[in-house]
Symmetry: C2
Subunit: 489 residues, 2 copies
């Protein structure tokens, strides 16, 4: 059977990705050695991630890894093996595919690299041979040149510290390193994943196969993708159109310049395509385009947390006049409005401040509000509640500059203030339910990072999205409002 | 004497800022109490910053602060007081100016707020009264509503952890919080300051006075400014033109939108002005415009470190194929080139890799180079030296993704690699002297921040600029190349 024919079968739905692609009750790591190597690392990672299946290291040298016997051959393993991870040299891998099929494997994932991305004829031929062997045996291939599957539900993972609880985000990426960073950084910000796939060269399982599956996957509420190249532009357009109509889709296109395209070709053997046609396609399908992984994480945070604003009227409030000015500039530049409180509410704000502060010196009692000098929880709550109750705003944006909170030291009695501020914010949010976003920014010191981490967790646990940069928060909120306007609930 | 007349005297040079504005052998902090308050914090800060002068806390309640007697009145202090910091309510400050003059003070700095920025008539009148008192007494005023002076040479500071050694950057800002963040974050990145001034409402000492001084200040090699508003547009144009012709100038304009302008007015009583005229002025004077404080810090890093590139041919090399692709995209989009090695050098690179690695699988041996799988210092040095010696590049850009370096754990044997990489980089830089920039990015974990901090310090000590974000590094390097093209040495 030719590769073209094999692809046709996939395209026509004969061998679609389904849940069984992600759920495995046994996994073999081929090429794991008792000395530390990549295969060993995979074994350790799956153990520490709590993989809920049997784990079989395989290496001709035998031995033991962390209490597990190392099998000399795949065929020595008793019983069936669902999922195989290859960490052996490329020239040995076609035989591995056949051996895996003989053990009943459904998916073989190739950490192994050195195929089409090498730019060499042998590499391309080897990749074709892999695919032929897989087709003949009815096995699906992931990669080559990838990290494979993350499925928190089954404890399958490719980094030991990925979140162990599941959520609604499906993420696919041609780059393993990008996958690790995105899942880690978004994970720390409260984003949870249904499934993630590092899919490398995409010689068999492609972005189209995966995105098609996510259209109907009931675990998945939104999809993010880092894509360097596609092989079937028509199918991609069709699948993306259906997917983006069903769920929010965020795309980061790598290799969108000539220099990046050279890199993409050497990285995953991808043909990067014209950036103009990508831009048009993404606009047409109303997928959300982002330009780096931090923007992608911001967007996942914006979409994952409840309380989306229904309009562009923003109240900015928090600490530090200079940052208030800059935050206002960024929101206005992005097309938001910062209206002022209606006079009776403005009056109430002044009354609240008069009740709880000796003076209003050093504060801004207009939007953007600088309420640094309200020291008490009651005073902060009264001020924030006035804003929330006024009905003048679609979105409450709290901005706290962490670095200044301990002025003039990293540690001083003033460092308690951000905590008091956050408690007041959460109380008002609980009471009013107003859409609220938090920006905890300007961290310069490891001590501040700890302080920031604690406040961040507190806000996230209460259901509030937290951003760590003013301009990136504004960018994500703008994209969120645009997306929701394009996709009325 | 009217305010107009007083301003005329300054404008005509009768009372210019000079070195004595920054060098004081005694300082009084008025309003410091033995219980912790802002004045107390200033005393503590000046002690911990190593202020090389006499320090006098002043408070009608008397007492003691950290071993220092608290004087009940300014006039009780024996001898002269050069510098006075006001932390008392605004209504008491006109008398303070007169008392300060009586003690021989040259400068009074007002942490005190509640003047023109309050938007109230009493506030504006009080500010005018301050100025009249100062003019009558021949004292210069800083602020009000500011943090005052940072001058590492004399140990004068407004945050205890600011760098204690001096450098060439002068920084002025209307926002105290912005000052703290900028000096802290740039300081951690190896930027050192000649003088910095948080100048608040600028009722007396203005951005023009300060920038004029920096034109000829021999300690200052470049100037950065956060400005919300100016009072004398003609003078500002004249001063900026002369300053920017003499030294690099970086400007962050706050209040450049209508919403930001409202905030600027409430923050420092500033009239923000039309953004278009600012844009034109900055373009005309060839000042470098930035849009937030991180971009400002990046620009100070770019200008402060030696080894500026003379052209746009960049070699990108480091870890992770996906980040290599994205870095290439960002550089190309900003107008840089990523040329390939000339064939003989390309041949040498392949030979080096063949000598030091078992295979080139998983690497990109084209520009952008992914050399993650060269494990040894010798191999990395050989590869980097080939790029440096080739003469194909104006700038070497090393990018390391910190979060992936410990895959699949935050801590694993692989975490040693970035250290080996950095050592090789520094060895090649020592040997070849090629312009080199480092991007240490994608940090997700406190442990990684420590690791990053150590590598960052190592690079900075060796004279290499370090950035923590790929897009912001590209932005700063683009601005650097443009600036240098506009200002040939």
């Amino acid at each position: 059977m030719s590769i073209g024919a094999a692809r046709y079968i996939i395209d026509t739905g004969l061998s679609k990705i389904d849940d069984s692609f992600f759920r495995h009750s046994s996994a073999a790591i081929v090429g794991a050695s008792s000395d530390y190597n990549m295969g060993h690392a995979f074994v350790q990672c799956l153990q520490d991630s709590g993989f809920r299946g049997r784990l079989y290291p395989v290496n001709p040298a035998g031995g033991e890894i962390r209490g597990l016997p190392v099998y000399r051959r795949l065929s020595d393993i008793p019983g069936r093996v669902d999922y195989v991870i290859s960490c052996i040299p490329a020239r040995l891998t076609p035989q591995l595919v056949r051996d895996s099929a003989a053990k009943g494997a459904r998916v073989v994932s190739f950490f192994t690299a050195g195929y089409s991305e090498s730019g060499r004829r042998e590499g391309r031929e080897m990749e074709d041979e892999l695919l032929r062997a897989a087709r003949a045996a009815g096995v699906r291939l992931l990669g080559p040149n990838c990290l494979g599957l993350y499925c928190p539900e089954t404890g399958l993972s490719f980094a030991a510290d990925f979140p162990k609880d599941k959520g609604g985000v499906a993420f696919i990426a041609q780059s393993g390193g990008n996958s690790i960073y995105l899942i880690r950084t978004a994970g720390r910000r409260g984003v949870r994943f249904s499934k993630a796939v590092s899919y490398g060269n995409a010689c068999d399982v492609s972005e189209c196969d995966l995105m098609e599956y996510f259209i109907t996957d009931s675990d998945t509420t939104m999809v993010a993708a880092y894509i360097e190249g596609i092989r079937d532009a028509r199918r991609f357009r069709r699948v993306l159109q259906r997917l983006a109509a069903a769920k929010p889709v965020i795309i980061l296109k790598g290799g969108s310049t000539p220099g990046g395209a050279v890199a993409a070709s050497s990285h995953t053997g991808s043909l990067a395509g014209q950036d103009e046609s990508w831009e048009g396609l993404l606009r047409q399908t109303r997928a959300i385009r982002v330009h780096d992984l931090d923007e992608m994480a911001d967007m996942l945070v914006a979409l994952s947390f409840p309380g989306h604003p229904r309009g562009r009227r923003v109240a900015v409030f928090g600490s530090n006049g200079g940052f208030s000015v800059l935050t206002a500039d960024d929101f206005i530049r992005a097309g938001f409005e910062l209206p002022q409180l209606d006079p009776p509410w403005q009056q109430r704000l002044h009354e609240a401040v008069a009740r709880f502060s000796r003076s209003d010196a050093g504060m801004i009692l207009k939007n953007p509000f600088d309420i640094t000098n309200i020291a008490s929880a009651e005073g902060l709550q009264a001020a924030m509640k006035t804003m929330a109750d006024s009905g003048c705003f679609d979105l409450m944006v709290a901005q706290l500059s962490i670095s200044n909170s301990g002025w003039p030291f990293v540690d001083s009695p003033f460092t308690a203030w951000p905590g008091i501020f956050v408690d007041a914010l959460l109380a008002v949010h609980r009471e009013t339910g107003r859409p609220t976003a938090v920006i905890l920014h300007s961290i310069t010191h490891p001590v501040e990072l700890e302080r920031f981490g604690a406040l961040q967790q507190k806000c996230q646990s209460a259901g509030l999205p937290v951003y760590d940069s003013i301009p990136r928060a504004v960018l994500a909120l703008d994209r969120l409002v645009r997306h929701n306007a394009n996709h009325p609930a």
